[in-house]
């Protein structure tokens, strides 16, 4: 069973190379390549064009990442499409550009030799504003969003993985309770993923269970796992305090990792273990933005060592690098 770590908050080829060198040194098998979080203001600007909005530049980027993978003996085990994926109330043009960017992310995934791309579902982010999307409309918009990716998915064979989301309540001085959003409910996951695969006529959609998001939303990830076992293709594993989406590494939050590993074992999961722990990498960054290699090495090692423990709990065998070849 391989172990990977998310590239966030490292972006751009120079920072990615730094990340790859540290991750490789620590022993990771692979990377979860984040393809960027889109700026909410910039996306409205017609001529704003990050590389992900352009097919040729996207492929060029992927080829350079492949070179890094070869240099540092790492694989891209999953990718993360740009997010957010849809803006209600914006013009069709804006949302079309977003859909194109996600399609390009799927093509990048294929060039990287990777099978899974996580694409956030559409959901209305702020609970306190008027005109909230009804569950029916949210469902229809997601069907529209995900089916718009079908040509790219069919061409590449990449599996598009939906993810469980949460909503912050911001009425009280910017802080407040967290509520579950789309795909936190396991029954909804089963229904939505099945419907999409039925439309596709083949299995092109799956699920990425974000165990930290489940925890925040009050869903016990250990109980969610068996309910959506046949939909789960990959994970976002990370920890938090049950209050904030900290994306910190295992054992520094409140997740019961023994129970979670037991659930993953019992579902018969044989994929890789992926840690989306960019929150702690972000915390270890000095305010100057320049990084301390020893600090990064230590934090990545803490994540990797947790991964090794999980592999043993899930497979019953100690983690072995040689077996991954």
């Amino acid at each position: 069973m391989k172990i990977s770590v998310a590239s966030d908050p490292f972006s751009g080829l120079e920072k990615l190379e730094y990340l790859f060198s540290v991750a490789s040194e620590v022993g990771f098998d692979g990377i979860d390549l984040s393809l960027g979080y889109l700026n909410w203001d910039n996306i409205k600007v017609r001529d704003w064009s990050p590389f992900i909005c352009d097919y040729d530049r996207s492929i060029e980027f992927a080829e350079k990442v492949n070179e890094l993978c070869e240099k540092y003996n790492l694989e891209i085990l999953q990718t993360h499409a740009p997010a957010p994926t849809w803006f209600e109330g914006y013009t069709d043009d804006v949302n079309q550009r977003l859909s194109n960017a996600i399609s390009n992310a799927i093509h990048i995934t294929k060039v990287l030799g990777c099978k899974y791309c996580v694409v956030h579902p559409y959901f209305y982010v702020f609970t306190s504003e008027r005109n909230q999307t009804s569950p029916e409309k949210e469902h229809d918009l997601n069907i529209e969003l995900y089916t718009s990716l079908l040509p790219a998915l069919k061409e590449t064979g990449v599996i598009c993985c939906l993810e469980n989301m949460w909503i912050p309540e911001r009425r009280y001085r910017g802080r407040g309770n967290i509520y579950s959003a789309i795909c936190e409910n396991p029954y909804q996951v089963n229904s939505l993923v099945s419907e999409l695969n039925e439309i596709a006529g083949e299995e092109l959609y799956g699920f990425c269970l974000d165990t930290g998001h489940s925890l925040l939303s009050g869903y016990d990830p250990c109980k969610v796992v068996p309910l959506i076992a046949d939909k789960i293709k990959i994970f976002h594993l990370h920890d938090n305090d049950g209050v904030d989406d900290l994306h910190t590494f295992p054992y520094t939050g409140i997740t019961d990792w023994n129970r979670l590993c037991k659930s993953i074992k019992e579902m018969g999961y044989s994929g890789h273990l992926n840690f989306e722990t960019g929150g702690c990498q972000g915390k270890f960054t000095p305010s100057s933005g320049k990084r301390d290699r020893a600090m990064d090495h230590a934090s990545f090692r803490a994540i990797f060592d947790a991964g090794k423990i999980f592999v043993e709990k899930i497979t019953g065998e100690p983690y072995s690098k040689e077996e991954q070849v």
């Binding site: 305090d241 910190t248 054992y251 520094t252 990792w257 702690c280 915390k283 270890f284 000095p286 305010s287 100057s288 320049k290 990084r291 301390d292 290699r293 020893a294 600090m295 090495h297 230590a298 934090s299 090692r301 803490a302 990797f304 060592d305 947790a306 090794k308 423990i309 043993e312």
Partner: protein, 270 residues
Amino acid sequence: MITKKEPTILDDERKSLEYARELKIILDKLGLKAYQTHAPYPSSRGDFTDEENARILNTIKNSFRMSEVVGSKKLVVHPYSWGNITNYPTKKEIHDKNIKMYMSLLDVIKETGVTCCLENMFMGDPSSKKLYASCCSSVEEACGLVDELNELAGGEYFGFCLDIGHLVICGLDPYNFTLALGDRIKCFHVHDNNGNEDSHLCPYLGIYHWERFAQAVREIGYKDPLDLEAGGTYINCFNEDGMTAAATELLHAAGRQIIKMIEEPDKHED
């Protein structure tokens, strides 16, 4: 932590010293030094009898002797405080009890040559769980108590251990506190938290801005070791087989990063 239950080795001077000698052998074998030690706590309890509080005081005296054996020059002794906001003693009662308690240690302090370090504390409201500043969590009280004790002792026998995490949960700025205490600070308890709980996290896993701490340490000219007292919630890492080495490395790296910021403020990053 001392409880009313079974006596510990700290109750017995001979056993304490034997234990300290064994610790020293292990430290030497590993090439490590005991830079500071921590006495049992609480140092005194309002709900204990005089006899029970005398027993605690005896364990603290033995801790001084153990510190001398392991080579530590600083022993942290919590001030008499009250962990609970209800029935909180008066400021004068706390002051008087602390003067009496710390002065009763003077003989063993002189005998061992170990500096007795006071620490800033907090207390909690059991109903709301809100934490509040308590003994030595005001600059005036901390400086005043150390200065008064040293004046009574006739020399510099008392100092201060500044607990950064305790300041953060009390909403107090470690920068200002460090500067005000200045050379009274003999050692630190460096740890992080979320601002609400005394979770004793590894620096950077909580909310504190460590560059500000580094700036303060640099300004007062503190050169001694930094102690990472990250053994609370963070111990979850240490409880899991296979995580100890990684957790220790992370603590060490965090400490090194802070030291780099103190020593080379413009060059601490790669």
